[in-house]
Subunit: 313 residues, 2 copies
Amino acid sequence: MKRNLALGVDIGGTNSVFGLCDEYGKLYFEESVSTTDYSTPEELVDKIYERIKSVGHLPNVEGIGIGAPNGNFYSGTIEFAPNLKWKGIIPLARLFEYKFKVKTILTNDANAAAIGEMIYGAGRDLKDFVTITLGTGLGSGVISGGNLIYGHDGFAGEYGHIRVVPDGRLCGCGRKGCLETYVSATGVVRSIHELDSKHSETSELINLKNPEASQVFQLAEDGDEFAVEIIEYTAKVLGNSLADFTCFSSSKAYILFGGIAQNGPSFAKKVKGYMEDALLNIYKDKIEIRISELHDKNAAVLGASSLVWNELS
Amino acid sequence: MKRNLALGVDIGGTNSVFGLCDEYGKLYFEESVSTTDYSTPEELVDKIYERIKSVGHLPNVEGIGIGAPNGNFYSGTIEFAPNLKWKGIIPLARLFEYKFKVKTILTNDANAAAIGEMIYGAGRDLKDFVTITLGTGLGSGVISGGNLIYGHDGFAGEYGHIRVVPDGRLCGCGRKGCLETYVSATGVVRSIHELDSKHSETSELINLKNPEASQVFQLAEDGDEFAVEIIEYTAKVLGNSLADFTCFSSSKAYILFGGIAQNGPSFAKKVKGYMEDALLNIYKDKIEIRISELHDKNAAVLGASSLVWNELS
């Protein structure tokens, strides 16, 4: 039997997704589990193994690609991820290799998304772009001259932890004012209680028990003034940050990926507006804000699986 | 006659330096002129041509490397440099090629410094580092995986214009709070009048007519409390910024280059301290602050000339 599928595994703070796809991005299987249900990573590896076995594809797995928060490409480990309950250094690539007996590549989930975007998505025509993933946190993957920037230790591209507000919101990392405390699903929800506004008291948001970022976007569309203000503020913080990040990589595009970005071109357009206002002269009118093209195509699994094809090519 | 020398030209906001050196970094000639004396770039090219001709080395010039503020590697132009009086887009590489009839490579002055550091200096053992040049402004050159990061348009690595203080000091670029308005020779001098301190009135700094950054460092060594405070503040702003920049590139080292950095290991040590305090957990105790090793070796000309050898290799 031919080994022609990549197992892509995306570890998220809330959910983890795994699936099988071929080198053209065609998906053969996909499943999602709640990450927090697994008190150890070994339990999750066992679960994924059993599922792949049960659908009969175990012999087809050519390699495994893993996208994980604080994932280290060089060592194949997850290191001190603030959004996971697995603490310390987790040798996840090694655990998968031990169980599946195939080559496993692990990186930051956002780096996986960037490679996925370059291979199958909105970055196919680009050599210099940054993927910004907006989920529970904010991740980023920087492609420069067609290569992913890993840094000396594999931890480059942690834009979510650049501090953008002095003495700002407390972050899971223990520092204050990190970008992801403002710009992420969690950040949008925090704004309901932490953003000063004269409209907050009359907003429906205040009455929601466990509000979600998607509800803020929905209410903004319905004309709720406070919700509109939160979206505007989120776009402003991101646009301003991207203006500054451009000084580092001078990328041709930022590709927005994940829940918030899916709220269509209007959020991206707002981000672009704030970014242009704040850009250094030499960068103005050159940089695009694009929406991920992997959204409708099982992005997380594709991103993770693309690591296998990128490694083989 | 053998063409075995590179002409290195470093364009600075105040002075420009040019010189000849071989591929081992041995210097054969060097001269400095006041950039502001030349109302057009053509006049400066003519002047340099005449000087190289007069010392008899014109036939030996293998190629020309230029480091310039806002220098664009891809187009060979200087574009909208706020610290130069030559405005707009200056095709400087082309002007040199037209006059000297040899290949000319131009980049950001800080990028040139980074390549110089990698070829002859403190980055010889590194593949992932950032050069921070502290002169009239603040420049940076990012080496990742052994390659310079140029970005899609050649303008990557403009760390000096990352805004670090919201609504902070007005910058030459028209924006507010840029790093170089705090951390640069100019920034240190601005702190004399713009940093709030109870020690300012009793400081000797207040009586200086045209104070220079070197005097602030000297007075700090002599125990002037306000001068000490300014140096501490400068190191703090830089250390905090480097902590955040690390989230982009995860570099192994920052190499400080230029006037302020020459004030020895004590400034670098302060910067390192503030950086460590502010780093994200995963980066702590991994990153060095080094001092340029090109300082005593005609750094600017070496940096610029290294572009020629880097291109040929």
